[in-house]
Symmetry: C2
Subunit: 132 residues, 2 copies
């Protein structure tokens, strides 16, 4: 893969991360459902599995806190050569919940895939808090 | 994907994790190269990128410590539907380097893909230490 394609992938991955946590932290969690595929997307959230945009959106909307803030420390992107325009995005950072004194360390990976209309959606999403 | 396929994927992912860190921690890091594809595999290691089994194996072999121990806390697996038998494996845990007092928190993801001979190899590998 040429340097141009890599740079573009990195740009898409980083723009996605900004958009995703932007919605999340603005209290617009129900809107996150629109980033997933209606049937094929999978979220593993702290070991619990959710399939499809509705189920994933409902889970994210109902997390037991009002507001939070993701502080992204690192974003790594790689091409996923078998998916159409696929990009693996790997994020580490910390998470501050409203009303909590201490932040939590987290890591999360996404596989972004392009739909036939050329729009990216989240095919795979795995989230974990890190306990050192 | 049926429950049987999921269970099998989870079994493959967990067996891979055990094998990978087993080799790593037994001081057999040069043998890790054999788990990657000669040309297409990608490793992102703390933000540095390596392409192909030789380059990846060389980097892992030359990490500046003799022995270490990975303590795996969580392993999550998901199917990667566009890759042949593809499995996304997401690991969190801690890492104890010989001679160091404190362990380090890490997270790592792999995309395993089946070769035409039915053998799994690591197509994608992203490693990060987590600083809470």
């Amino acid at each position: 893969m040429g340097g141009g394609a890599e740079a573009q992938m990195e740009m898409v991955g980083k723009a996605f991360v900004k958009h995703y946590y932007g919605l999340f932290d603005a209290g617009s969690r129900p809107a996150l459902a629109g980033l997933y595929h209606p049937s094929t997307s999978i979220l593993s959230f702290e070991g619990r599995r959710f399939d499809g945009a509705d189920s994933i959106g409902r889970h994210l909307s109902q997390l037991p806190f009002d507001l939070c803030r993701h502080m992204v420390a690192t974003v790594d992107c790689q091409g996923s050569p078998f998916a159409a325009g696929g990009i693996l995005v790997f994020v580490t950072g910390s998470l501050q919940l409203s009303g909590e004194e201490h932040s939590l360390s987290f890591s999360q990976m996404f596989q972004l895939v392009q739909s036939t209309e050329g729009r990216f959606y989240v095919q795979n999403d795995i989230f974990r808090l890190n306990y050192g």
